[in-house]
């Protein structure tokens, strides 16, 4: 078991947003978290990443308790977070973005850039452009490329296909599928077609609770079925 | 039940102490005590913004000064009638609040603090230099107010009584204000403005009204100061003196009317009496501010309330 979230409760001030949430993630497994808006998916991801602290329960990564750890420390353990809204460091170039990702783990920047190119040829042309000039899909690719620097063990990705055109969504899905074999991922997604294509395990969330865990292959590949459970 | 009574009587007790203090100091120096009282009105005005809207302004002496100069100019160039002067002073404060408010209340936190500093500096410059011909510049103006029979502001006792009555009136007004729906709205804005806005309320309007109330009350205090001293000079608007009211609001406990009064008195006591014994009392002020910022945030009244709440809880449990 790579990651174990055990009965966590999370509060925003006095309001409770996560109730008794538990999930498990195995090595090299792609887990999807689905649910309507406000179900608590991003909150769960942020708690795992260290940006929020659970008021009860524990988060364990590779046997080590990380609940309440600072997000930068969590990242150094090999858990990388990819935020929603495709926020890149706009005033820096694409190369600079990769450089920042490589810096804290002392990875080789040129290697990281090469890896980015292998994920997407488009990046070769954009490597010295300011990141704020990139389109939504290009930003998402950059963010994933950034997160992959240093061979992390677990990626936490929040709504990667949101707001993207169909062609671009396919691109992103392809990248995620290619990455699947090398590390574990927890992906929050609203696009159920994509979820069905790539997930090994699905957790359904509703109003701050996990209401279903789907591991059966047939059920996973049936987006209509998943939708009916939301 | 007994403890509930205790908490009310605690407030009552503190009130008695305060009144007692006033009576005692009265026998020492009426003028000084009148000063204390007026300053408390000023702090009450400031606390509308700080304690109840959560916005700290580093430029509130602008409004104190506006009230002072409004009253002074009225007395000098129109009629030296104290009531008219007060009205003009309050009007000046309200007018400034109306003009500057829409700009200021759009911001919060650091920006709010700074915008008010800018306005304060401009105002200070205007009374010190720009309109020095009318305001008397650095020396200010001295005034003589009319008297009508027993309504004689030159009589220190009458003046004191009037100011004390004003303080009680303002205090009561604030109490009603904070207990009303408007007060609840302000608290809501302080805690989470976005949420209140999403509920459909025009938070900008509420903030503006609160701002104008704050500036008007502060201006009222300014006009009272002028009547008490018999002169007005730029020190009323001095930006450096903002620390006085901020300190008073903090030490008394922001957010409660009683805290404002306690804080105002505390500051006046410190600046008047402590200054006699500790020459480096400004440093003491700075250190006190630091301590408050680090630990003693709720001020005296907050601390008292906490103590009382704890007692009540302990009492309830042992039942």
């Amino acid at each position: 078991m790579l990651l174990n979230v055990d009965a966590i409760h999370v509060h925003y001030g006095s309001a409770q947003v996560l109730h008794d949430v538990s999930i498990n993630v195995k090595e090299r497994e792609l887990t999807c978290i689905v649910g309507r808006n406000g179900a608590g998916k991003t909150t769960l991801l942020k708690t795992i990443g260290g940006f929020l602290k659970p008021t009860r329960g524990t988060v364990t990564f590779e046997g080590r308790a990380i609940s309440g750890m600072r997000p930068d420390k969590v990242a150094l353990l090999g858990v990388k977070y990819v935020f929603q809204d495709k926020r890149v460091f706009g005033d820096l170039t694409v190369r600079d973005n990769m450089e920042l990702a490589a810096y804290p783990i002392k990875a080789n920047v040129d290697e990281a850039v090469e890896r980015l190119f292998s994920i997407s040829e488009k990046m070769k042309r954009l490597i010295d452009s300011k990141a704020k000039g990139l389109s939504g899909g290009e930003r998402q690719i950059l963010l994933i490329g950034r997160a992959l620097v240093g061979s992390p063990k677990l990626l936490l990705i929040d709504e990667p296909t949101e707001g993207l055109a169909a062609i671009v969504i396919n691109d992103i899905a392809r990248i995620l599928m290619e990455t699947k074999g090398r590390l574990s991922m927890i992906v929050v997604e609203q696009n159920l077609a994509i979820v069905s294509r790539m997930a090994d395990r699905i957790y359904i969330m509703k109003e701050g609770n996990i209401i279903r865990e789907i591991t059966d292959e047939a059920e996973i590949r049936d987006p209509a079925y998943i939708e009916s459970l939301l | 039940m007994l403890l509930k009574k205790l908490s009310n009587s605690l407030t009552f007790a503190v009130a008695v102490i305060m009144i007692g203090f006033i009576v005692f100091a009265y026998s020492a120096s009426v003028n000084k005590v009148t000063d204390f009282v007026i300053f408390c009105i000023y702090v009450l005005g400031f606390d509308v913004l700080y304690g109840h809207m959560g916005r700290i302004s580093f430029g509130h002496t602008l409004y104190l000064g506006a009230g002072a100069y409004g009253a002074a100019m009225c007395a000098k160039y129109l009629v030296p009638d104290p009531f008219l002067a007060m009205a003009v002073g309050i009007g000046a404060g309200a007018a400034l609040g109306l003009i500057l408010g829409p700009i200021a209340v759009k911001t919060k936190g650091a920006a709010f603090a700074l915008i008010n500093v800018a306005f304060n500096q401009i105002g200070y410059f205007i009374v010190l230099v720009a309109l020095a011909h009318y305001t008397g510049g650095e020396d200010g103006v001295s005034l003589d107010f009319n008297s009508y029979g027993f309504v004689d502001f030159r009589n220190v006792h009458f003046l004191f009584a009037f100011c004390l009555a004003s303080l009680v009136a303002v205090y009561w007004l604030m109490h009603r204000l904070y207990g009303s729906a408007f007060g609840a709205m302000l608290l809501g804005i302080k805690e989470n403005e976005t949420r209140v806005r999403f509920l459909g309320y025009n938070t900008q309007a509420y903030k503006l009204v609160a701002f104008i109330i704050s500036t008007s009350v502060s201006a009222f205090a300014g006009s009272l100061f002028v009547i008490n001293y018999g002169f007005a000079n730029p020190s009323f608007m001095d930006p450096a003196r903002n620390v006085e009211v901020i300190f008073a609001a903090l030490i008394g406990g922001p957010g409660t009317e009683f805290g404002a009064v306690v804080g105002g008195t505390a500051y006046m006591v410190i600046s008047n009496y402590l200054a006699k014994y500790i020459t480096r009392w400004e440093m003491f002020l700075g250190v006190a501010l630091l301590i408050i910022a680090f630990g003693f945030r709720k001020g005296i009244m907050g601390y008292v309330r906490e103590l009382v709440d704890k007692r009540i809880k302990a009492g309830a449990i042992t039942k």
């Binding site: 930068d72 990388k80 820096l92 | 936190g109 500096q121 401009i122 450096a240 910022a293 680090f294």
Partner: protein
């Protein structure tokens, strides 16, 4: 007229040197650091105290004065800013104000409330076209340009600079890469403070060195930051020189109004471009 421009550039240069640190702290931590003015004053007073020690060697005294001010900024950062940052911005502002108050009083205690004399270390005038201005002012202008270029290079090319730019824009994302952004903000804070003390050292000899100079410079920094944008490096530079010019031109026609005019400009900017922090 040329003199006015030169004076404007001098003031602008000083404003820039001092405001950069203030702007960065504001942009990175959203804190109005009043204590920034204290480091400025400490720089000037340290210079005054060290000149006799270095036998009048201005450059040496200046370097030592900057070094002397570093512990002050370190203490402020570690015990005040860092403690309160993230927990409560309002109280951080009050605390920094309190530090300035205490510092000013200590200065008054040691050196008295009257201004102390510091004079132009060069003392010679330079000739540019038709005007004659003190060579010292030329040095200040040149130095401010050099610092501007150095900072631009630093923020564009060095990794620390890039981290700070990224952190100013998106703090969480920087954390998610495994970078302890607060450590870098602290480094930048110290850099900004060192520049503030440099500003005090440079401006001291051509202005009045008195205990309350810290208050004055901080309020001017406010104006620069509001006009130029918080945490916006290029904006801070432009605003500094523009406001410096405004001050010089205003002083030419109506000496006492120079400071107030800055605030009028600041208020004007706020009316047409209201900020939401």
């Amino acid at each position: 007229m040329l003199e006015v421009i030169a004076y404007g550039l001098t003031i602008g240069g000083i404003l820039y040197i001092v405001s950069i640190g203030f702007s960065l702290t504001f942009g990175s931590m959203k804190i109005v650091n009043f204590a920034h003015g204290l480091v400025y004053a400490v720089g000037a007073y340290a210079l005054y105290a060290l000149l006799p020690v270095t036998n009048g060697n201005f450059v040496l005294a200046a370097i030592l004065a900057i070094l002397a001010s570093l512990p002050v900024s370190y203490v402020i950062e570690k015990f005040v800013i860092r403690r309160l940052y993230g927990k409560s911005i309002d109280y951080a502002i009050i605390a920094s104000y309190a530090v300035l108050l205490i510092g000013v009083d200590i200065i008054k205690w040691i050196w008295g409330a009257s201004p102390v004399p510091l004079s132009d270390p060069v003392g010679v005038n330079a000739r540019f076209f038709t005007m004659e201005i003190p060579f010292y002012r030329v040095i200040i202008i040149a130095l401010s340009f050099v610092i501007f270029i150095a900072l631009s290079v630093f923020f564009k090319k060095s990794i620390i600079g890039k981290i700070v730019i990224a952190g100013l824009a998106d703090r969480e994302a920087v954390l998610s890469l495994g970078i302890d952004i607060d450590k870098y903000f602290a480094i930048v804070f110290l850099l900004g403070s060192a520049l503030a003390s440099l500003g005090g050292i440079l401006y001291g000899p051509i202005s009045t060195v008195h205990p309350y100079m810290g208050f004055r410079i901080v309020t001017l920094c406010f104006a620069v930051v509001i006009v130029g944008g918080m945490g916006n490096l290029r904006g801070t530079a432009i605003a500094s020189y523009v406001l410096g010019m405004v001050m010089a031109v205003t002083a030419w026609y109506w000496g006492a109004a120079a400071d107030a005019m800055i605030f009028a400009v600041m208020a004007g900017v706020l009316i047409f471009r209201p900020i939401e922090v």
